[in-house]
Amino acid sequence: MAEVWFAIAAVMLAAYVVLDGFDFGAGALHLFVAKSDRERRQVLAAIGPFWDGNEVWLLATGGALFVAFPRVLASGLSGFYFAIFLVLWTLILRGISIEFRSHVDHPLWRVAWDTVFASASTLLPVLFGAALGNLVRGLPLDSAGWFSLPLFTDLTAKTPVGILDWYTIFAGLFALTALGGHGATFLLWKSDGPVHERSRRAAGRLYGAVVVLWPLLTVATWLVNAPMLAALPGRPLAWLSLLLAVGGLIAVGLGLRGDRPLAAFLGSCAFLAGMLAATAACVFPVMLRAIGDDSASLTAYNASVPVASLATAIRWWAIGFPLAVAYFVILFRLHRGKVIAPHGREGY
């Protein structure tokens, strides 16, 4: 049962990255792909109906950890204390910048919120990427399963580690590149006119960079956590996920070349989901990896609540999850087609 909940948490996290990822990416590119107010409203209208629901996947992932692995949630959130609040404050500023920007028809007001939106959307993928980098590199867990990390130490990724070091910064920049490309494929799909054209160029460049950076990230990962990659050959699920990621990359390339935006966007989704699934399959059952002492790691087995509780939770989860998926299907269907830039007081 602990395996099932590990998989659920991984699926929810992947859904979060794929979904909120496209609006982070669109936000990071906001100032570059959309120049006029009309174009910027086009970008905001493209993500407007979705961003809030997308962000709920973060809460839902947190909820899945809370109910199944409270030790992991407690340890992880309190250990990354300062970084978590940086994320939360940035999420707050980003949320209100989307919601408040078009309330006031004044150029300075709008440019100010556009800048907040773009900056926050750039910072968040870096922070989330760095967070994943921390999980891969490992944490200084004590015998009771707690840790506390400074923001940075000597950047060497060796004990004493900090939240930011060369590896986690690299992971953060990789995440920004990949989510930027992801957001560009989304805008390519949902927009027309100049935004569409600029998004095509951005998607091509950013995914080009992903193709270059991915092998480098793999080498870097080998340097900080060789056992994780060594586990890869023995894990078929990881292989399949990698295949999905590679297939996704190819689909992005073909979609961009053949002017099939939806294929490019879906390929981008597959790439992100495949990367995350492969990582999850490689690290399983470890959730918080202890540096130096493997026995101190928090795993799906030693950090989960009793089986009876997991079994209860799976019952309501089996009702709630399809409902959540259904809302998204309705939402995407209602907002199908290219987005039209809103006018006046109505719309984002």
């Binding site: 109906p49 629901g53 709920v56 839902a60 340890s75 939360l88 707050i92 949320g95 569409h196 719309g347």
Partner: protein
């Protein structure tokens, strides 16, 4: 300064109080918006749709601030209260996770459609979007109150082999009697807030002679819903809640009332200052026998005083608890009187011209916010010194590895950020009020040809 516990407590208190200023309006307002949309559908009167559209814009601004300030609440369980999360996560993790899965997805998916989708959805579809927001926000309210109710009155759990709490009976936990009473009380309070806000805006327009189509409507709806909810918040829901406190948290009841010595036929304190050092109430004005009646249903029953409990289970701030409770109860009584008189005036057709009453209604809207806040302070201060009543002390629940300076730093950060949010919020709501309700916008065609208009769509 060196003990982080105070900063953890203050940060949670500050962020939850600020956050809850917004959902208390949106939950109540969701009900009133559903009512407006339903009246529009039934009567065919477009002015109800115009009224709903105006309130939906106010709702949207409130909801946005509610969403962004709500996210930190979920995370602070882990960041600041890690020991508590580890200890009780096996139980409260269920309701917190269900809130995301069942309520937040519903709300977030339909919010955009409610705020911007009137044209796209048509009248009936837009009514359904309002209904979805109402259902989502009221469900969210239940699940979070269920979480709190477990901390107030833990049921349905067992203590596991490793000493942490585990869920034993899902339905007992989900249908905790404390949660049912607290939910009813709380939701009625949120309707009081929304009603007073709607009435205040109606009064604001009526006093200026603005929006003659809408001001009387807002007044009528606000005053009527305000009277019904103000009565319900006191009786039966508040009464029920008080009886549960009397039964399960007698020490909290004694502190709420400044009741230092046990007494048969205890009186209820209207005014007075608790003097904890001397263990007495200074300058009290008391209605004899009434506390016994409210707590146990007879005038002669014995109400335990603080003297019967060791000091280490007393709520750790008796004075603040006492004043919070009395401010809440006093305001609640005034709400019934105010909306009662206003309803009488309305029934005689004189409310729209009764300027003193309109002034009162316009200026009264902050008080339900104060009553709700002090009500929650009563619940949470009364729970002290426990984090999970009788099982875990607040002092043992904080994160073990977070330093006091770090916690103080984030508390200061929240203070600044929320100040900015509050100013922005007031500015934007002020603009909506100045704009007022009206028929939907008609857009002039764009003056310049725009290439994006002609681009192929598909």
């Amino acid at each position: 300064m060196s003990d982080p516990l105070l900063w953890h407590r203050l940060q949670f208190a500050f962020t939850i109080v600020f956050h809850y200023l917004f959902p208390q309006l949106t939950m109540g307002l969701a009900l009133l918006i559903v009512l407006m949309k339903a009246l529009g559908l039934r009567t065919g009167d477009r002015r109800w749709d115009d009224a709903a559209r105006f309130w939906i814009r106010i709702f949207g601004i409130n909801f946005a601030v509610g969403v962004v300030t709500g996210i930190p609440m979920e995370f602070q369980f882990g960041t600041n209260w890690a020991n508590f999360s580890r200890y009780a996560g096996g139980v409260i993790g269920h309701t917190l996770a269900m809130e995301g899965l069942f309520a937040f997805f519903l709300e977030s998916s339909f919010l955009g459609l409610l705020v911007f989708g009137e044209r796209r959805l048509g009248r009936r579809g837009h009514f359904l979007a309002a209904l979805a927001l109402f259902a989502g926000s009221w469900l969210s309210g239940y699940l979070i109150i269920c979480t709190n109710a477990f901390m107030q009155h833990p049921v349905g759990h067992v203590i596991g082999a490793d000493g942490t709490l585990q869920l034993a009976d899902f339905w007992a936990f989900l249908l905790n009697p404390w949660a049912l009473a607290q939910y009813a009380h709380n939701m009625m309070a949120s309707v009081v807030t929304a009603s007073f806000v709607v009435a205040a805006v109606g009064a604001y327009y009526a006093l200026q002679g603005l929006h003659p189509d809408h001001a009387p409507r807002f007044l009528r709806m606000g005053v009527a819903a305000g009277l019904v909810s103000s009565v319900l918040v006191a009786f039966p829901t508040g009464d029920q809640q008080a009886k549960l406190v009397a039964r399960h948290q007698p020490v909290a009841l004694a502190a709420m009332e400044g009741h230092f010595e046990s007494e048969t036929g205890a009186g209820i304190v209207m005014i007075g200052q608790p003097n904890v050092r001397e263990r007495r109430l200074d300058n009290p004005v008391v209605i004899p026998g009434f506390l016994s009646f409210l707590a146990f249903g007879t005038f002669h029953s014995n109400v335990k005083g603080l003297n019967e409990f060791p000091e280490d289970v007393w709520p750790d701030n008796v004075e603040l608890l006492y004043y919070s409770f009395h401010i809440m109860a006093g305001l609640g009584t005034l709400f019934i009187v105010t909306t009662g008189v206003a309803t009488l005036l309305e029934m005689r057709g004189r409310l729209a011209r009764a300027r003193p009453m309109l002034w009162l209604l316009m200026l009264a809207f902050p008080f339900p916010y104060i009553a709700t806040t002090t009500g929650w302070m009563t619940a949470e201060l009364g729970r002290q010194p426990w984090l999970v009543y009788g099982l875990m002390r607040t002092a043992n629940g904080a994160s073990p590895r977070v330093h006091s300076g770090t916690a103080l730093f984030t508390l200061i950060g929240f203070t600044g950020l929320y100040l900015v949010l509050g100013v922005l919020f007031l500015f934007l709501v002020g603009r909506e009020l100045a704009h007022g309700p009206g028929p939907p916008e008609t857009h002039p065609p764009p003056t310049l040809p725009d290439v994006t208009e002609q681009a192929p769509r598909g």
